[in-house]
C-alpha cells in the first residue's frame, strides 16, 4: 500500500511519467492514470457513440489496452493523444462490427436495430421544467452530433470537449493538420444547420 508521500508524488506526476512506470508494472501509477483520465475517455466515447451502456465497456477496454501497450508508448507525444488514439480506434472497430451485425440482421430478415439514442445524465436542478428543457436540448445536440461522418465527429469532439489542438487531433486521427481544419469546417457548417433552431432562439436571427 503506498504511503501518503507516494500518493502526493503520484497525483502531481505528469501522465507521461506515470505511463513509463506502468510499463514497468507499477499498478499504483496505473490507478492514478485511470482515475485521472476515466471521465474524459468515457465522455469522448459517449459523445462519439451516443450510447451510455457501450461507453463504459469501451472505456474499460481502452484502459485495458493502454495497460498492455504501455511499453510501446513513445514519449514524443502527449499521453492523452496516445490514449485517445487507442480509444478512437476501439470506437471505430465497434462501429464496424455493429455495421456488420446490422447487415447480418438485414439478411436474416430480422427487425433492424434503430440507431441507439443518446442517454443523458443531467446535473441536479431545482426546476423540473428547466431539467426537461436541458434534457431535450442535450438530446438534440447528441442527435446532431450523430449525423456527422465519423472523422468529422471525432475531430469536433476532440476540439470542442477535450480542447486538443489541430496538431494533436491530426496525431489521433493519423492525418495532417490541414485535413483536420477542413474536417472541422465541414462539421461546424453541418451542425450550424442542424442546431439552427437554437440559434434562432438565442440570437433572434
Amino acid at each position: 500500500m503506498p504511503d501518503t508521500a507516494n500518493r502526493d508524488w503520484g497525483n502531481q506526476t505528469p501522465s507521461e511519467e506515470l505511463v513509463a512506470r506502468v510499463a514497468e508494472g507499477d499498478d499504483y501509477a496505473f490507478q492514478i492514470l485511470v482515475n485521472r483520465h476515466q471521465t474524459s475517455v468515457l465522455n469522448l466515447i459517449y459523445r462519439f457513440m451516443g450510447d451510455r451502456s457501450k461507453s463504459e465497456d469501451l472505456a474499460q477496454e481502452t484502459f485495458l489496452q493502454a495497460w498492455r501497450a504501455a511499453k510501446s508508448f513513445q514519449h514524443k507525444s502527449k499521453f492523452t493523444t496516445w490514449l485517445y488514439r487507442i480509444c478512437v480506434n476501439l470506437c471505430l472497430n465497434e462501429i464496424k462490427s455493429a455495421r456488420r451485425k446490422k447487415w447480418l440482421q438485414f439478411f436474416q430478415n430480422a427487425p433492424g436495430s434503430r440507431h441507439p439514442e443518446a442517454e443523458t445524465q443531467l446535473d441536479e436542478s431545482p426546476n423540473p421544467e428547466d431539467l426537461l428543457l436541458a434534457r431535450e436540448r442535450s438530446q438534440q445536440i447528441a442527435n446532431a452530433l450523430q449525423t456527422l461522418p465519423e472523422n468529422q465527429r471525432i475531430a469536433l469532439i476532440l476540439k470542442r470537449y477535450d480542447g486538443l489542438s489541430y496538431e494533436e487531433i491530426s496525431r489521433v486521427l493519423g492525418c495532417s493538420a490541414s485535413a483536420v481544419e477542413s474536417l472541422l469546417v465541414r462539421a461546424k457548417r453541418t451542425l450550424q444547420k442542424k442546431l439552427e433552431i437554437f440559434l434562432k432562439k438565442s440570437a433572434g436571427f
Binding site: D27, V34, L42, Q60, R160, Y161, L184, Q192, A203
Partner: protein, 163 residues
C-alpha cells in the same frame, strides 16, 4: 481576402489556429463585411450551444473493474485466493467442474451403498466388493441403490419367498 476564403478560415480563427498574419487579415475583413461577421457570430453560437451536451460520470468502482479485467485485483473470498495460490487457475473451469461432479457422484454412491447394506433387500452376495471400489458401481446400467436396483431386489426377494 474574399468572403469565401474568410468563411473557410473562420473556424480556425475561432479555434486560435491561424498565424498572426492570417488572423489580422480575417479581423480586417470582419470589420468591413457584415455577412462574414454574421457567419462568425453564428459559428461562435453553435460552438457555445455544443457546450450544453451533458457530461456523464463513470459509475463507482470503475478502476476496480478495469484492474479486475487485467488481473491486478485477486478474486474475492477464500476460495478465490486458494484457487490462485494453488495454481489451479490454469485449469479450464469445465474440467474442474467435471472432476468435482465425478468425485461427488462417487462419494454419493459410496455413502448410499453403506446405507443400502443395512436395508433388508440388500443382496450382499451380488455385491461382494466393499468400500470405495463398490462405489464405482454407480456407473453400472442398474446402479446399486437406484430405483431399478431396488425393484429388481424386490422381485428376487418375492420370488425366493414364494418358492
Amino acid at each position: 481576402m474574399k468572403c469565401q476564403t474568410i468563411e473557410k478560415k473562420l473556424s480556425a480563427y475561432q479555434d486560435g489556429e491561424l498565424s498572426v498574419l492570417e488572423k489580422e487579415q480575417v479581423e480586417r475583413h470582419l470589420a468591413g463585411c457584415h455577412s462574414c461577421l454574421e457567419q462568425h457570430v453564428r459559428l461562435k453560437q453553435t460552438w457555445h450551444i455544443l457546450g450544453d451536451l451533458t457530461e456523464i460520470r463513470p459509475t463507482p468502482g470503475f478502476y476496480k473493474r478495469v484492474s479486475h479485467k487485467i488481473g491486478l485485483t485477486p478474486e474475492k473470498g477464500l476460495l478465490g485466493s486458494c484457487w490462485r495460490n494453488w495454481g489451479w487457475g490454469a485449469l479450464p473451469s469445465p474440467v474442474f467442474a467435471s472432476v468435482i461432479l465425478a468425485i461427488g457422484m462417487l462419494c454419493g454412491a459410496y455413502i448410499g451403498n453403506s446405507f443400502i447394506k443395512t436395508q433388508p433387500f440388500h443382496n450382499v452376495a451380488a455385491y461382494p466388493e466393499e468400500g470405495f471400489l463398490s462405489s464405482l458401481k454407480v456407473f453400472d446400467p442398474v446402479p446399486p441403490g437406484s430405483l431399478a436396483d431396488n425393484y429388481e431386489r424386490l422381485l428376487s426377494y418375492n420370488e425366493g419367498h414364494i418358492r
